[in-house]
């Protein structure tokens, strides 16, 4: 019984292993012959194999070799070693072609034997002439998005016989070619042809491709990047910027844009008045907020803002500093484009003043704004129907507390409607006009005489 077992064990082990070719996705059972095909002289070609354990017990791999000129198994785990149930051992057979001959080898895995074939053929030589560097991969370097780089290759025949090059092909996004040659072509001994491959990145990212000359494959690489924008100049249509204005902003570049870019022009505001947080009326009108999209095309020196040559913004009704910055996303900007304009503190601006007479009151209605947020002191001077000042003359009142309370909750900056009511018990019809002087920290302003209706 012991002898029987001795002979049965290797047979069982042989039956439970199988040899497959592996292409990275599919295992294909290997037959008696595997042909690695044509390989350019001086080049090498790899084939992947898997020894799979299909049995219910571990298998020991005792034999694994490729015996034949030109064939090697790099990085081979030296037998014996085990492959567990359902598992596999993967290895590479490499054929390195030298002289233009046909080659064969015996691939042996335990009891499985397969003939490997390969043909070495006289091949063209490919070398980089100019425009890129390196060998594996061949590097086109960093190229600005929208620009193009060209790499020149020399294709020569170092053999003693004329050869035909059937395939010259370039693949990979961003790479194009070959330019200057067209396969198939014939090369006489010693003849040299040049051709080029172009690299035109469409994104700011890393690109990979291949140049295939017959069976030789050269990896290509290149990086696209967005070159920095020349420093933008943000200009406003006037230097006399004040409150309650609508001004236009333009964006120009110091030099033509080296690449197309887009992003946002952002407005920020720093109020001058203590305790004032912001002024919601300061905004770009086209967007209703503080961001305006910009676009610049390659070669342009003028950016479009929201599709137009300029963007209108409101200066609001608060003294302070309005700043504009540019964010071009992934595109860098040469220099700081931030532009700041100051809105000076001014006396109260009166948009309209009116006065009405009611049965026992006089109402004075003022609409305006106070960009200092310090208004409150008012002086009223009443005139009779003959235009004479009614005694006792100017009447001073201080509404500072009212204004401070109002400004804390105003949704429209410092704009205000003030209604001041004067109780009258006499003949109010003889009060014909009124003048109002409003004072803030920047000075005083006086209305014209307002007719009381």
């Amino acid at each position: 019984m012991k002898h029987v077992l001795f002979f049965l064990l290797p047979l069982a082990a042989h039956a439970q292993v199988a040899l497959f070719a592996w292409d990275g996705a599919t295992e294909t059972p290997v037959g008696a012959v595997v042909d690695l095909g044509r390989v350019a002289a001086g080049d090498s070609k790899d084939a992947l194999f898997r020894v799979r354990n299909q049995g219910v017990a571990p298998v020991t791999i005792t034999t694994l070799f490729a015996n034949g000129a030109g064939f090697t198994i790099p990085n081979l785990t030296a037998p014996p070693f085990q492959v567990s149930t359902g598992n596999f051992y993967q290895f590479t057979v490499r054929f390195t072609a030298s002289s233009a001959l046909s080659y064969s080898a015996n691939l042996q895995v335990n009891g499985i034997s397969t003939i490997l074939l390969a043909t070495s053929m006289p091949a063209a030589s490919v070398a980089v002439v100019a425009g890129c560097s390196g060998k594996d991969p061949i590097d086109f370097g960093r190229i600005a998005r929208g620009d193009s780089a060209s790499c020149t290759f020399a294709l020569s025949n170092p053999n003693t016989q004329t050869i035909t090059v059937a395939i010259i092909a370039v693949s990979g996004g961003g790479f194009a070619g070959p330019l200057g040659v067209s396969a198939p072509l014939t090369l006489r001994p010693g003849e040299v042809l040049t051709f080029s491959v172009n690299f035109s990145p469409v994104d700011a990212t890393l690109f990979s491709g291949t140049l295939m000359v017959e069976t030789k494959i050269f990896k290509l690489t290149g990086a696209g990047f967005d070159p920095p924008l020349p420093r933008p100049t943000l200009a406003i249509d006037t230097t006399a910027i004040g409150s309650a204005q609508q001004r236009t902003l333009t964006m120009t570049l110091a030099a033509p844009a080296p690449t197309a870019a887009s992003g946002l022009v952002t407005l920020t505001f720093a109020p001058a008045a203590p305790g004032v947080a912001d002024d919601p009326a300061i905004l770009f009108v086209a967007t209703g907020n503080r961001k305006a999209p910009f676009t610049v095309n390659r070669g342009d020196t003028i950016a479009t803002l929201g599709g137009k040559t300029s963007a209108v913004f409101q200066t609001g009704t608060t003294a302070g500093k309005i700043s504009f910055t540019v964010d071009a996303g992934s595109v860098e900007i040469n220099g700081d484009p931030t532009t700041t304009v100051s809105i000076a503190a001014t006396p109260v601006a009166i948009d309209s003043a009116s006065a009405v007479r009611r049965t026992s009151d006089l109402d004075v209605l003022l609409i305006g704004f106070d960009n200092t947020y310090t208004a409150g002191v008012m002086t009223f001077t009443f005139f009779d129907t003959a235009g004479r000042v009614i005694e006792p003359g100017a009447i001073r009142a201080d509404f500072s507390t009212d204004f401070r309370a109002f400004f804390t909750k105003s949704p429209a900056g410092s704009a205000f409607t003030a209604r001041i009511t004067f109780p009258v018990t006499g003949d109010a019809s003889k009060v014909a006009e009124v003048e109002v002087e409003l004072t803030n920290s920047a000075g005083s302003v006086r209305t014209q005489r307002v007719v009381i209706h």
Binding site: S243, I367, I390, E391, P392, F399, A412, A415, P423, G426
Partner: protein, 240 residues
């Protein structure tokens, strides 16, 4: 003396009755059909939250804002069923495009105003002219005509004609605002004329007292038409 004495008394009481508020210029119709308050002062405005979301046209005057929705007229918290479609206002008068009917808004009700004969052409704007007449801006083949129609007997008087005007028109209390493809033209009865470089006007609304909203593909504008204080400025678009 008596007045002076009164004013002295007022001074002593320190004007206890005063009020501060945010200026409201009127309303504007945004591109989504929402009616929004316009706050602030000219050229420095903010928009409030929508007060109505399905407006097709509106009119804001000194005393009220009337809004046409698809099927009603809304005046604050009052509304009344109205003919379908768009309408144009002239203070309390309203003209319904679909039915070519004139009516008056009166205390929350729509009261028909019968005309002896229908208005020929497309009515673009209207305004009351005294108690018995209505002025219409009408688009006809020959351009814009301004007609005065007497309600009592239907007599029609041609007041003016503007052949170059191709866009919307608004009859103002003291003149007319016209639109050509390239600009806005403000004309008054005394011959005053001022032009504003706003191309492509598509619609006009009475935004508020002496303020007109002009809608163009390139922006929404407001024109202050108050005599001597004419001012064009842009209204903020609704923030996205």
């Amino acid at each position: 003396m008596r007045i002076a004495l009164l004013l002295l008394l007022i001074a002593a009481s320190s004007f206890a009755q005063s009020g501060l508020d945010t200026p409201r210029l009127g309303m504007m119709l945004d591109r989504d059909g929402a009616l929004r308050p316009v706050q602030g002062v000219a050229a420095s405005v903010t928009l409030g939250d929508p007060v109505l979301r399905d407006a097709v046209s509106f009119y804001c005057g000194r005393e009220r804002c009337l809004v046409k929705t698809a099927q009603a007229i809304v005046d604050g918290d009052r509304s009344a069923e109205a003919p379908l479609g768009n309408a144009v206002f002239g203070d309390s008068l309203v003209y319904f495009f679909e039915t070519k009917q004139l009516a008056r808004w009166n205390e929350g009700k729509i009261e028909p105003v019968l005309l002896a004969s229908p208005i020929e052409g497309d009515v673009l704007s209207l305004r009351a002219s005294g108690e018995d007449a209505v002025d219409f801006a009408v688009r006809r083949d020959a351009g814009i005509s301004i007609l005065r129609v007497r309600i009592s007997d239907g007599q029609v008087e041609l007041l003016d004609a503007f052949p170059p005007a191709t866009g919307p028109v608004m009859l103002l209390r003291d003149g007319i605002l016209l639109a050509t493809p390239e600009e806005l033209i403000l004309r008054r009865g005394d011959g005053f004329e001022k032009r504003f470089g706003v191309p492509g006007a598509e619609r006009m609304f009475a935004l508020g007292e002496n303020l007109v909203q002009i809608v163009t593909p390139g922006g929404i504008f407001a024109l202050r038409v108050e005599r001597g204080r004419e001012l064009l400025f842009q209204l903020p678009e609704t923030a996205q």
